[in-house]
């Protein structure tokens, strides 16, 4: 599996720390701009020139919108074009691209296939609409806007932030004992979840997917992918929240703790990829809902929002079905009040199983190339489980279960707190015990030397 390698990130952190120390307080953000540009250049090469040009257009567009010279809709359509074209240029399914990205990831050929293009586009639209709504004024310093658009710890896959939220922190960059400790705690937590749990789940998943597994057992693949995607994506965010936290820049949370034990789809979506969902809510759903004053078409707008989210992942019929299923599920759930059911504990437990079952099914649709053959494979093929293929994974399964329990235990204790705050509130001995425990587990059971994220592809 290809991934963002740790040596690159360590170099980024060290170089940024040195530059932040060297520069005066008012200019510390230049340190992060320089390192963001340099390390982004290492990853995308000369394509960075396109992104700088793109940022320049956003910069100018901000003033045009402020002076009402252009209609914001036209500008936004223009800004969306590179992202849309890049989606059309991807020939294989996202899962196929991900599974073989160690072979072809670095050879994305067209100029629009760039890591982080979604992040830049979404942030650019958010910036321009906020100007239009008069929440903010256009930024006078192009380089400051550029840092907002290509901030290295967030560019790979978010979290997404409004201009005001992030840039107010850029003005107060400082490295303190607390920021360093918090940052390193989150980095450690992210590494543990990614290198030990996620990457190991993926290795079992790949073995099972290339085996003869079929029938009801096929759902197990969906469950594995669901858990993998959570551990993979959330750990990546934890890790880069940590990197950013070192400089006292708090990136938003993107996942609720213990999201995998959601008892309904509505509960799940409130805690999954939070910043992207907020973005679609604020800049699409609410904008349409505002026009539907009698609330007659709320469900249709919700459906449209989910279809858009699906198409953002990939322009394909299978993903459209995935979006349709998600929206229908939520709309159906809204019609049934789960709170009415008696026995809250039983309701919660039943809800968890119900949600995991259907989430596994949706996860299978999400990664499927062909909905029809998936349907046949699950419902019309005799159930087969490849025990022989799994024999080599006995250790893997034990390690995953053990590590998952550790993760779940800490999440349970942390409740709604972020991991760094939760650890920070512990006594010294407990804190150091957790540091040693996690470091040792990573050193012994860490699968590769990189941190991986499925969502980099989008």
């Amino acid at each position: 599996m290809a991934s963002i390698n740790l040596l690159l990130i360590i170099t980024y952190i060290v170089l940024s720390i040195v530059l932040v120390y060297v520069l005066p307080k008012k200019r510390k953000w230049y340190a992060l701009l320089c390192t963001s540009i340099f390390f982004y250049y290492v990853l995308v090469g000369s394509k960075i020139l396109f992104l700088i040009l793109f940022s320049l257009i956003i910069y100018k567009a901000g003033f045009f919108i402020h002076k009402k010279r252009f209609r914001v809709t036209f500008i936004i359509i223009g800004i969306l074009l590179p992202l849309i074209v890049s989606k059309f240029l991807i020939s294989n399914s996202h899962f196929e691209n991900y599974s073989s990205k160690h072979i072809t990831f670095t050879s994305w050929s067209t100029i629009l296939q760039i890591i982080g293009i979604s992040y830049i586009t979404f942030n650019a639209i958010s910036y321009l609409i906020d100007i239009k709504k008069k929440f903010i004024k256009p930024e006078g310093n192009f380089f400051f806007l550029l840092l907002y658009l290509i901030y290295f710890p967030a560019i790979f896959s978010g979290p997404l932030h409004r201009f005001k939220y992030l840039t107010s922190q850029f003005k107060n960059i400082t490295i303190t004992s607390d920021s360093l400790s918090s940052g390193l705690r989150l980095i450690l937590w992210g590494l543990f979840k990614n290198m030990v749990i996620a990457q190991r789940i993926f290795s079992i998943f790949v073995t099972l997917k290339s085996s003869d597994i079929s029938g009801a057992y096929y759902l197990l693949l969906g469950l594995l992918f669901f858990l993998y995607l959570y551990c993979n994506f959330s750990s990546f965010i934890d890790f880069f929240q940590g990197v950013s936290q070192i400089f006292n820049i708090k990136l938003k949370n993107n996942f609720r703790n213990r999201i995998y034990v959601s008892a309904s789809r509505q509960e799940f979506w409130k805690g999954w990829h939070i910043t992207l969902n907020e973005w679609f809510r604020d800049y699409f759903f609410f904008m349409l809902a505002k026009k539907d004053k009698k609330r007659k078409y709320t469900d249709y707008i919700l459906l449209l929002t989910f279809l858009l989210i699906a198409l953002w992942h990939e322009i394909s019929i299978t993903l459209l079905i995935w979006g349709l299923c998600n929206a229908s599920w939520i709309i159906l759930e809204k019609k049934v009040d789960f709170q009415k059911f008696a026995y809250p504990k039983l309701r919660k437990l039943g809800g968890v199983f119900y949600h995991l079952f259907f989430s596994s099914l949706l996860a299978l649709i999400f990664i499927s190339n062909d909905f029809h053959s998936l349907f046949l494979k699950i419902f019309f093929t005799p159930s087969t489980f490849p025990i022989e293929s799994m024999a080599n994974h006995t250790n893997n399964i034990v390690i995953i279960m053990f590590s998952f329990l550790i993760m779940d235990y800490h999440f349970k204790k942390a409740k709604k707190e972020r991991f760094d705050d939760y650890i920070g509130s512990k006594k010294t001995f407990n804190r150091w015990f957790i540091y040693f425990k996690l470091t040792l587990i990573i050193l012994i059971f860490g699968a590769t030397g990189g941190i991986d994220n499925y969502y980099i592809l989008f």
Binding site: V44, L443, I444
Partner: protein, 311 residues
């Protein structure tokens, strides 16, 4: 003041783990198959030596004893390395070419990945090899950003293999485990047969694909040119071949057109009959590797093809 305290704590924790890793690594002995493989390379041979270089697919499919009996020469060596890709194949070939023996190298074509496998690193370390010199030569033609990215990935894989202690702890707990069950270099047959699928096999139809305009072979050609130039100076023949099984279609999409673009005198070409004879799931241990039966069949079928490249 507080920041200094935190930095000191960080330094302390890194030091403790560094010492721990150092002692765990030090207590492990190098695996004998790395030493054996290197010995076969460095030893002086009176007649021509034949080396099969590649990944675990080569490791599991080429039985030197089988080929020795049919070819009538003793110097046939399987030095397939688990996890090796074309970069590592090239580095190993570069190392072998520079030895004084007259030799033929059969090199597996595979994609170029920007990392070293743990096994390759162990082999380099055991035998004091310096892969970075060759790496620098191979990456010279890349643009600055690509070169930086590539090198970051390589050094990262190298660094991580130095701090990961899973294998070392396994060896400490059970020193026989690795030797008995997981030979990571050289011919290592397996008996099992875990799959009934034919999907991973290379087919003759796939070999005949002619449209490869979308594939960029620049890096592969750079590596191949490097080996050809070196072989001319060192009494060596270079022959490329394709693996018969693939985990992903994308790998086929890269290596098949690359193979087809090479001149005839530089490649082992499988006939339709050859591929059909191998296309049987009973020869597979898993989707990507042959078992012992597959290795015997493959090695026997290779004989007529090898004759064209004998010195």
């Amino acid at each position: 003041m507080y920041l200094k305290k935190t930095s000191f704590k960080l330094f302390l924790i890194v030091s403790v783990f560094s010492v721990l890793i150092f002692f765990i690594k030090k207590s492990n002995k190098p695996q004998p198959y790395f030493i054996k493989a290197n010995k076969s390379i460095l030893e002086k041979h009176s007649s021509t030596s034949y080396y099969f270089i590649g990944s675990s697919r080569v490791q599991k499919s080429v039985d030197p004893n089988n080929i020795k009996s049919t070819l009538g020469t003793q110097n046939i060596f399987n030095i397939g390395i688990s996890g090796a890709t074309f970069l590592e194949n090239t580095i190993l070939a570069d190392y072998i070419i520079k030895t004084p023996n007259r030799k033929v190298l059969f090199i597996e074509l595979s994609p170029i990945l920007s990392s070293f496998s743990k096994t390759s690193i162990q082999f380099y370390d055991t035998n004091n090899m310096t892969p970075f010199k060759t790496l620098n030569l191979l990456t010279n033609s890349l643009s600055l950003s690509k070169r930086l990215n590539f090198n970051f990935n390589i050094y990262n894989s190298y660094l991580f293999s130095k701090i990961a202690i899973r294998e070392d702890i396994k060896n400490l707990i059970n020193p026989q485990l690795d030797i008995d069950n997981r030979i990571l270099m050289g011919y290592s047959p397996v008996i099992k047969n875990d799959t009934k699928s034919l999907s991973s096999f290379l087919t003759y139809q796939e070999m005949m694909v002619t449209d490869y305009s979308s594939v960029n072979f620049k890096n592969h050609y750079g590596y191949i040119d490097h080996l050809i130039n070196l072989s001319k100076k060192h009494n060596t023949k270079i022959v490329f071949f394709l693996p018969l099984t693939y985990r992903s279609q994308k790998e086929k999409n890269i290596v098949i057109p690359l193979f087809r673009s090479l001149p005839k005198n530089m490649k082992l070409e499988y006939s339709k009959k050859f591929l059909d004879s191998m296309r049987n799931p009973k020869y597979l241990s898993d989707i990507n590797h042959f078992n012992e039966a597959g290795a015997q069949q493959y090695s026997s079928l290779l004989f007529p093809l090898l004759k064209d490249f004998l010195y």
